[in-house]
């Protein structure tokens, strides 16, 4: 069977090389921006920024070449100065020589677009679907990126992106979005190495049920060319467990391993990024079941969504309860995912170190399996006929992205 390789994407992510224009707006130092706006975050989060202000760059540290607003679109351009950079995702750019990353540098004033996101409140069982302006960051998103940096520094965790300054894009003196500029130790993403079969869901289902002879490893994780999956999984699990047990979570990420960075020249070789939805919760010494339900859910969705994709379509042949659907998918996931294997081991070590009531933590795992939201997240990782039925019947939207 010939697999069609041309894919439609919802959003034009742009060419590999992008033009950067000088545009209207203000350049803020990270220190000032964080200090002046931190109060829009929760108290505990603001206090983390407050404690770590000393780590943040001040105005005088911004290099001249960044001391002007730069953008990937000409919507706000103020002159004809143009230079070319590498594209980085759909809304960012990467200045490779200087190792500078511009996150959210694609203001689309002429043709505004939005981007769908999923949110789950701590302790909530309902995933909310929302949209954010496409191409730029909101003020809160920038602050959360800074919060992530401060949190990692405070916990002495490795981080590759150091914020240098913030661009506030303006049209007619009105703010139209923000871009955060990072100095980065590397931008080689784990997903670049995926030996990606480029299957549509339809093709995956056809392969699964027509048992077509292919070289695809159905039921397995995608292969990563030149990458040691054990090593990456251990490294990622270590960062995530440290982060989670210190109360930090990145939420429901768009991309599974697109926010994992492989480094060659640093003292460490693996890092995570994308903190624009980062939030910090306080961890009680002896958490009760209500807290643990939320905590375990947050841990699981981040690990699940951040796992290497499993090339599988699961067919349920009978009507089951929600818990049973969840159990089947979770069993498949936990048996297959390398990142989960490493994370699970470290999770229990941490939970025991904290002196938590392990039976309560186990109960929380059981409780998660009863929730609709967990089924929705699991269905993003392992597509299945039950989820598709729900979509067809318009009961829910699971496959909101590509």
């Amino acid at each position: 069977m010939l697999i069609k390789q041309n894919k439609k994407v919802h959003i034009d992510i742009g060419p590999e090389i992008v033009k950067m224009y000088e545009c209207s707006g203000q350049v803020h130092s990270v220190f000032d921006f964080a200090n002046n706006n931190k109060e829009i975050l929760k108290k505990t989060e603001a206090s983390i920024i407050e404690k770590n202000l000393i780590m943040l760059q001040k105005k005088e540290s911004i290099p001249d070449y960044l001391n002007k607003c730069l953008a990937r679109t000409d919507d706000l351009k103020i002159n004809d100065n143009i230079f070319e950079l590498k594209r980085s995702g759909a809304r960012s750019a990467y200045w490779e020589d200087r190792r500078i990353k511009f996150k959210g540098c694609r203001p689309m004033v002429k043709n505004p677009a939005t981007f769908p996101i999923e949110k789950l409140g701590f302790g909530s069982d309902v995933i909310e679907y929302d949209s954010i302006p496409f191409g730029i960051l909101t003020k809160e998103a920038v602050l959360r990126e800074i919060l992530g940096f401060c949190f990692f520094k405070e916990k002495e965790l490795e981080i590759v992106h150091k914020p240098i300054c913030i661009y506030e894009y303006c049209k007619d003196n009105e703010q139209v979005g923000y871009c955060i500029v990072f100095e980065t130790m590397g931008e080689t993403r784990l997903e670049q190495f995926v030996n990606y079969p480029q299957l549509t869901l339809k093709e995956l289902i056809e392969i699964k049920f027509q048992r077509l002879k292919t070289t695809y490893l159905l039921g397995s994780e995608l292969l990563l060319n030149g990458v040691n999956v054990k090593r990456c999984s251990e490294a990622k699990a270590k960062i995530l467990t440290e982060m989670h047990f210190s109360g930090g979570f990145r939420g429901i990420l768009n991309s599974n391993i697109g926010n994992d960075i492989i480094l060659k020249e640093a003292s460490f070789e693996f890092a995570i990024c994308d903190f624009d939805c980062f939030r910090v919760i306080s961890i009680p010494k002896q958490p009760d079941i209500a807290f643990l339900n939320g905590f375990v859910m947050y841990c699981l969705i981040e690990v699940l969504k951040g796992s290497i994709s499993i090339l599988e379509f699961y067919q349920f042949n009978e009507n089951l309860s929600l818990t049973e659907y969840n159990k089947v998918l979770f069993e498949k996931y936990t048996q297959t995912s390398s990142i989960w294997k490493a994370y699970e081991r470290m999770f229990w070590i941490k939970a025991k170190e904290q002196g938590w009531d392990i039976s309560l933590v186990n109960d929380a795992f059981e409780n998660i399996l009863k929730t609709k939201s967990f089924f929705q997240i699991q269905s993003l990782v392992i597509p299945n006929n039950k989820a598709i039925d729900d979509i067809v019947n318009l009961r829910n939207i699971y496959y909101s992205h590509d």
């Binding site: 030996n195 490893l217 994780e221 292969l223 040691n228 090593r231 048996q335 070590i349």
Partner: protein, 609 residues
């Protein structure tokens, strides 16, 4: 016509009891007792059991050679009691009275070893003493390394826990003779350091493999210098350990705890500190062995190195020597554990003592029990399992593997030595990392950090792995090679944390059926490798078809390829394992050892032949 010369080699003094029989200098059979008595390592190494001989192994060797006990011309025993007795007394500051290291303990061990010829005479039904030769432990190791190697001349390095008194033996071999250059004596022992560390890290007496696997996860430099507080070595062939810190003969760790922190209990979590200690120990071992090999290179002038002794099974160190030592070629005896001393005893007699010039090249380990297809069919029928004969079973198995199935593979003669090399193996697709998780958790019941080895087509090995020179011993899974960069992500199930993989090269001459299986798998997948792990679960590698069925049912392996039969055990879990054992169906095969014997029964068996 000249009479054939039969030599029987026996290892029994410590653990891994084994027997080897050679006929006119060619190995007819070599087996470890553990495969028959189903006790890991055959028996525990202690002073009370050296006279517990590998009776079933000896019996198998005689059957395989189609001779009777009286036909044996020489018997080599890989231990000399006198060499050990008094030397081991008074060395340790701490020891347990009545045990090794104490006068009474050593005396017991001495007399029980001395009783071996008498015990053997009783079993064989005649006085064996005129044929019986005591040969020192390390001479046997060294002989097993050199006399069966491809080298005309070679440096020889034998390192293990302890022989009689020596723990490291260095020498050289030329043609039909070997000679000692230098030895290192107890307590200065790399092998015992690993044993003690294994206990300290909560892995028990035989957890050296676990340390090796874990070491890849740790930082070798964190505790590297700490080891030098009680260890030293140099390029003059010296190696020493402070025995007061090692505390080998007592089950205490108070001295280690001063250096490394609290010892780990068996079920405690594996923490970073444990990984770092394991990594440092591996690094120390690599460096120490490299120093000793440099010394040997200097004093022997040979470009070849032959290795045996338990340390020789450290595939990480062997690869380190292969890549970094001045030697051009290295041969490692495939049964470098104590079992291999039975081979060495035979060849020490054949070449060194009897002066035979002909050398035997050990290219194969398929020296154990074999079961004809009609016997296999008979037992499968009796057991009531679903099976089908396949003319080209390797094709069906390759397809199953490609579909993500785990297949137990039972073919031909059982391997000698601790590695399953494609005749008693469990196989899986090396591209599927989840199968590695599954095998560790559900089938082998091992820790997460234990890596899996790969069998690779010999002619494709250099496309997938890095090495300076492929050794003959790569056939025996004795080197942990580095996976080539562009292949790393393609075979995650067999790529260890440090990008290494213990490999077994396979060619058509050595194992035709297994080679064809690999070729077929390559044809379907473009990957000329298979994940290969030993066919067992926390027990010795299986020996008989009955063992194979029992293990498959116990750990829920669906597919068993045995001889030309493909067995589907999907419904076999319904069969009670206990009932299976009780039935103990007697095979037509003469190689059925599924019965208990005692001395009297054995005497009857041997005498009646």
């Amino acid at each position: 016509m000249n009479k054939n010369v039969f030599i029987l080699g026996i290892n029994s003094a410590y653990h891994e009891p084994s027997a080897c029989l050679i006929k006119d200098g060619i190995i007819v059979a070599a087996v470890e007792e553990e495969r028959f008595n189903r006790i890991r390592h055959g028996k525990p190494a202690n002073i009370l059991n050296p006279h517990q001989l590998p009776e079933k192994s000896i019996e198998y060797c005689l059957r395989a050679a189609e001779i009777e006990a009286k036909d044996i011309d020489y018997i080599g025993y890989s231990f000399v009691p006198e060499t050990r007795f008094e030397k081991n007394v008074g060395i340790d500051r701490e020891f347990i009275e009545g045990s090794a290291g104490s006068f009474s303990g050593e005396e017991t061990f001495y007399y029980l070893n001395k009783a071996v010829p008498e015990k053997l005479s009783r079993i064989f039904g005649y006085d064996v003493s005129p044929k019986f030769r005591w040969i020192t432990h390390h001479l046997c190791h060294a002989s097993s390394a050199f006399f069966v190697s491809p080298f005309k001349d070679s440096a020889i390095l034998s390192a293990d826990g302890i022989g009689e008194f020596a723990s490291i033996w260095m020498g050289k071999g030329i043609d039909d003779k070997i000679e000692k250059i230098k030895a290192v004596y107890y307590p200065n022992s790399l092998g015992l350091l690993w044993t003690k560390m294994s206990r300290f890290l909560g892995f028990g007496e035989y957890g050296q493999w676990k340390i090796m696997g874990l070491s890849a996860y740790g930082n070798p430099d964190t505790y590297y210098e700490t080891f030098f507080d009680f260890i030293s070595f140099d390029e003059q062939g010296n190696f020493s350990i402070n025995g007061d810190i090692l505390q080998h003969r007592v089950n205490r760790f108070n001295e280690f705890e001063k250096l490394f922190g609290p010892f780990r209990k068996e079920n405690d979590e594996i923490l970073e500190i444990h990984k770092d200690i394991a990594a440092a120990l591996q690094k120390i071992t690599n460096e120490a062995m490299l120093c000793l090999s440099k010394y040997l290179y200097k004093v022997t002038g040979s470009k070849n190195l032959a290795i045996a002794g338990g340390v020789g099974l450290n595939c990480v160190t062997s690869n380190y020597l292969s890549e970094n030592s001045p030697f051009e070629d290295i041969y490692v005896q495939p049964a470098s554990n104590d079992a291999g001393t039975a081979v060495g005893a035979c060849y020490y007699l054949w070449n060194q003592l009897l002066g035979n010039k002909e050398r035997y090249l050990q290219e194969s380990v398929y020296l154990g029990s074999e079961y004809p297809d009609n016997d296999i069919e008979s037992i499968l029928t009796t057991q009531g399992v679903e099976f089908k004969k396949h003319e080209n079973i390797y094709k069906s198995v390759a397809e199953l593997l490609e579909n993500g199935e785990v297949v137990a593979w039972f073919q031909g003669r059982m391997e000698f030595g601790p590695r399953a090399l494609g005749n008693r193996s469990i196989l899986a697709d090396p591209r599927r990392v989840e199968l590695a998780h599954y095998l560790n958790e559900k089938i082998k019941h091992r820790e997460f950090f234990r890596p899996f080895a790969a069998s690779v087509l010999e002619e494709k090995a250099n496309e997938w792995f890095k090495f300076r020179k492929l050794s003959l011993s790569d056939k025996f899974m004795l080197f942990s090679r580095e996976v080539k960069h562009d292949k790393i992500g393609l075979i995650p199930a067999v790529t260890h944390y440090d990008n290494s993989c213990r490999i077994q090269t396979v060619n058509e001459k050595d194992n035709r059926k297994y080679y064809k299986l690999l070729k077929e798998f390559e044809k379907i997948t473009d990957v000329p490798l298979l994940l290969n792990t030993s066919f067992n679960d926390s027990e010795p590698i299986i020996c008989s078809p009955q063992d194979a069925l029992n293990t498959c049912i116990k750990v829920d392996i669906r597919w068993l390829a045995i001889g030309d039969f493909l067995v589907d055990l999907v419904n076999a879990s319904l069969i009670s394992l206990n009932q299976e054992n009780e039935r103990k169906v007697k095979l037509n095969s003469e190689y059925d050892y599924n019965f208990e014997t005692n001395d009297t029964q054995l005497q009857m068996i041997f005498r009646s032949r």
